[in-house]
Amino acid sequence: MSGTLNLVIGLAMGLNLIALGSSRLPMLIRAMSVQGVLLGVMPLLMESERLDWRIVLVALATMAGKGVLIPGLLRRAMRAANIEREIEPFIGFVPSLLLGALGTITAVALARALPLLPEHAGTLLVPGSLAAILTGFILLIGRTKAISQVCGYLILENGIYLFGLVLIHSTPLLVESGILLDVTVGVFIIGIIVDRIQRAFDSLDTRKLTTLRE
């Protein structure tokens, strides 16, 4: 069981790196959405012995939300705001890729040192979540366009979701659905803000926002 789970988490980690290395927005959004679908599959895999209608529901909601709804919104925003597809990196692609890989390796090594329950020690859940959080941060720091930063934020949220899965027995999945809802609302708001920024500055380059500091 944990073999399949680890494989899925490994794939999600690979998608982190693809997100870091991709130079075009659609690719970045696609990596993020595939990662969302993988994340949606995970609770089903973990709880395959005692499937509950609530778990199935949340899994489906996650897949729909992270895999279809949010990427769809982003793509629409991209089209609506006429954003160029090329990403302008603030930290270059190769350095961010290397940083991400280093972060992943460190996360795996670090998770061994953490006092985890024995059933979690064998899986990659915790390192996977750490790696996704780190990837999100690198994207947030290292990309200049608002939309790629949104993607970074979502990958960061994926990491938090992964961490939540560790607690799948003790926390009701309601919390998770709450987060999901928050994020969807957040993306809506960001979509509106993106549109406003685009109108106000004629560009989505967040560097231009520095003029607002006073």
């Binding site: 790196l17 290395g21 130079s23 692609f93 190769v94 890729l97 290397l98 890989a101 390796i105």
Partner: protein
């Protein structure tokens, strides 16, 4: 006596089979594009014709211009002889032979670059600069792949290193080595062997001035190198050493064919990368090999 016979057979196998690969790739490309394409044996005809042609030397070239290709060819064939061939084993095997193989490839690279610089052409300088620079990343990827095999098998000689199945990291290793194969053999998306624009070439730009027998030697060496990487990839990924000899031979042949067809498909379906993206792809290949290494490490530790 049998030893010499064995060696001659092995050499003949490498030398005669190698030019088949570019032919298959071209056939696959033609098939995807809906053309008939050149015959599979086209490179053999080309080589035979080039071997008989006279040579035009640049006025600036010294004898190194002809010696370079010869040394490069010997280095590539020597590297091929070190590579074990499934059930047939290897012609010479010792601890650390994998390093000799890697450095023989480096020797071939040095000689090609040296011969290219002989002519004083800016295009050839450009090609040589690209070749030696991208090789830095490719070399890192290859050594990471080798280290992952070493970690997995605990052995430092090719024949035992390539025998068992590489475990969980096989897919990562395969992807990494395949990318290195494309880069080292100057295939799409790193370089386009059919391009006609010198500014965008890597390997082809280095051999612009060669003609006649030296060009034949270069082309043949390049095909040996392609076969070498294909064999390495297949043996690193498949558990050749755990099969019966006929099955192993079959698997090896089928694997090499599959790799060749994949190269052809990649070439038909992908466009050449912009040069500033090449380091990114090579870094990805390196990281794939590094993760294969870590998987091998973790898989064996538990």
């Amino acid at each position: 006596m049998t030893l010499i016979l064995h060696l001659i057979l092995r050499l003949a196998l490498w030398l005669l089979l190698a030019p088949l690969l570019p032919g298959i790739i071209n056939k696959v490309k033609a098939w995807v594009a809906g053309r008939r394409g050149p015959p599979v044996l086209q490179l053999y005809y080309d080589l035979a014709k080039l071997w008989k042609k006279s040579v035009v030397l640049s006025q600036l070239a010294s004898p190194g211009f002809v010696i370079g290709p010869a040394v490069g060819w010997v280095a590539l064939v020597g590297a091929a002889l070190l590579m074990p061939l499934g059930p047939a084993g290897s012609a010479l095997s010792f601890r650390g032979d994998v390093l000799l193989l890697i450095y023989l490839l480096a020797l071939a690279r040095f000689c090609t670059a040296w011969a290219a610089m002989e002519t004083g052409s800016a295009f050839e300088g450009m090609g040589a600069a690209r070749e030696v620079s991208y090789a830095v990343l490719a070399e890192a990827a290859i050594i990471a792949a080798v280290l992952s095999l070493i970690v997995h098998t605990g052995s430092v000689s090719l024949i035992t290193m390539l025998a068992p199945s590489p475990g969980a990291g096989a897919a990562l290793l395969a992807a990494g080595l395949f990318t290195v194969l494309l880069a080292e053999n100057c295939r799409v998306p790193f370089d386009d062997p059919n391009t006609h624009l010198e500014l965008t070439m890597i390997h082809e730009a280095m051999v612009l001035d060669h003609s006649g027998p030296p060009l034949a030697v270069i082309l043949h060496g390049a095909s040996v190198k392609l076969l070498l990487f294909a064999v390495l990839l297949v043996q690193a990924v498949l558990p050749i050493g755990e099969m019966t000899p006929p099955a192993a031979a079959g698997a090896l042949a089928a694997g090499v064919l599959l790799v060749t067809i994949s190269v052809g498909l990649v070439e038909s379906l992908l466009a050449r990368l912009a040069f500033r993206r090449v380091p990114l792809l090579l870094t990805t290949a390196f990281l794939l090999c590094v993760f294969a290494l870590l998987v091998a490490w973790k898989g064996d530790a538990t």
